[in-house]
Subunit: 424 residues, 2 copies
Amino acid sequence: MENKEELDQLRVEKKRLESLLDFGHKVSSRILNLDELLKMIMGETREILDAERCTVFLRDFDSDTLYSKIADGMGSREIRIPLDKGIAGAVARSGEVINIKDAYADERFDTGTDSKTGYVTKTILTCPMKDKMGESIGVFQVLNKRSGVFDTEDERILLLLARQAADAVENAFLYDEQRKMFESFIDTLSDTLDKRDYITAGHSRRVTFFAIKTGEAMKLMKHDIELLKYSSWMHDMGKVGVREHILSKAGKLTDEEFEQIKSHTVFTREILGKIYFKREFRQIPDIAASHHENIDGSGYPRGLKGMAIPFFARIIAVCDVFDALTSKRHYRNPMPILGVLNILKNDVGVKFDPVCVEAFFKINLLDIVRGINLEKVENFVIVSDDEAILQKYILEDFYRVLSSSEFTPAQSMVVESFARYYGK
Amino acid sequence: MENKEELDQLRVEKKRLESLLDFGHKVSSRILNLDELLKMIMGETREILDAERCTVFLRDFDSDTLYSKIADGMGSREIRIPLDKGIAGAVARSGEVINIKDAYADERFDTGTDSKTGYVTKTILTCPMKDKMGESIGVFQVLNKRSGVFDTEDERILLLLARQAADAVENAFLYDEQRKMFESFIDTLSDTLDKRDYITAGHSRRVTFFAIKTGEAMKLMKHDIELLKYSSWMHDMGKVGVREHILSKAGKLTDEEFEQIKSHTVFTREILGKIYFKREFRQIPDIAASHHENIDGSGYPRGLKGMAIPFFARIIAVCDVFDALTSKRHYRNPMPILGVLNILKNDVGVKFDPVCVEAFFKINLLDIVRGINLEKVENFVIVSDDEAILQKYILEDFYRVLSSSEFTPAQSMVVESFARYYGK
């Protein structure tokens, strides 16, 4: 008989341990989107603890609040609680578990949410979620155990779950921070360039915009678009190594000055070569430094030919020339758009890879207009009528229209719409 | 009787599940030093699987090898195996478990290590360690189960352990990558500055060196030294926003030009304000932008006074002036060292915080010499006799020596030693 009891007990414990292990596996093997991760964590926790509801609050260290984006029964509204208020706040501050057997009899319980949602909270179990330093990075809360009140075993399990969840959340944050840091640094590098080379300010961002659109027209995968994006964003970085008076010289450059300009591609490789890129981004310096190589071997700095030029550099080359010719310089206006497109077409197989030019001409005309005006944030609006007209064309169609000797009324309209946003 | 058997079985299983959960907790709650983490993982795994030895191989994606720094019985020698060789390589490539009951009867087994170390391998269990994308990032290997051969249950457990370890290792890598990326970006930013402002190239790194030494003299904690380090490294970043001809002007600046120079502190705040720093480093822009504030309120850009100036900015201020005066400019030689030190002392309470100057004068003279010559990598050597003499003095003592009217022979020696590395 005693055996029977111990057996039952052991079976229950074994099952519980297995769900805990399983939980650990599930939260850790997820690709890390924080919202999805939290949703899954909450569902599993509800199940394991036989509770009606579960909420995971994360701590916002900047504003010292706890917030939850996805709470059971709250739709997608964000809940935000100051750290010095309520049960969750108390748990985050003290790092201790709070187990309430009768919510309405407890003065710490705030009935506000219940009266708003119509839910009746009976029992509450709340525990902290601690990071590796032992600091509370959030709070785990379950409500209304279906089979009675939460006991000390439930407390132990919730703590275990919270610990595993904390790991996964920390990891997701880490990925997120890495991405934010990475992008902000690139942005800062390109800003330092703009600060100095004010004539071409915004060039890197516009080229990046066009490169992404070209990549999308080629149906590149998300990861490749990222690599392309960062490479274009930094392609002119080496210009910080070229003397200011040469960069901003309006007239014809001497041979020696032109050699100095050319050296920016070498500097780009040198500077970017010092950055620690994670594996997926190791090619960035090579791509970025090859955007002046021509497909026929007449480019610089290495005179690479054809397939020897990194593919993404060949995309950037097209976007780079397009932006240079369509942008205003202090000594000249943007070239008429037909002239620009003719140059791109004429240089296919000479400077440019046919595949890249073809993809570039597949970009939607509305995106072209957006790209050209990317940095004009103030007072720049594309009116919706023009938007509707522009998005009917890809660049190739628009090019055919411009090249024809006469316009139909519909063609005139797109030419006029485009003109309203070009060369201003 | 049946009950008895099931009971025993359940007890064993429960114990095993608990050790697995415990393992998960241990590997995930460690502060992340990869070497320590791996050591702990190997010890626990050996224990849980009752094996004589355990090795964790990590995959080096650059060279396509597996390596292990800490392997049982190998001392601290690194083992490196090409991915296309041996049992570990096969496991990493195929992602499948290999369980060998008799090593010497298996042709895949390489007896080389055994014959080198004298160890006799009998049984081998090897499984892959996969990341969240399902890619093998390493290999887990246990040797010689004490109680016989490894069975399928052992395989299952090793896979579970490997999965938990993979999480922890990935996390450690992530931290490591974040740090590397961060430092390389800062280095790149400061390099872009050096490329343009070649007259003061190396200034940021030298100031950083002196700031760290000052911080150490103050016995600051490791984390604070880091904050100080990154802030000094970037203190002059805003100079990218100042026109080149003003930065490099040799003669006296006009008022307007000086105003432009001053604006570099504003630009520093602006540029660094755009970088996403993690919480511990949020103060960097504020510290970096305040290094020209004077303690008496006569500094710029904000004319902050005393304690209103961030403490670390007050440290940087001292190091900044010290480096400016001890460095060669194209229009002047370094100022004689006594003159430099007199200026620092005279400006205590005017420009400088007394606490910071006092700490600066506690820097060891050998470190001062090293800092001054930090960027002279080629052909720069401090001979060991001088080293021995210099390190007997802190800067304060050296200052007293220099200020005295007559030198003892020992004092003459340090003055001469110092002179050999100053102003070259």
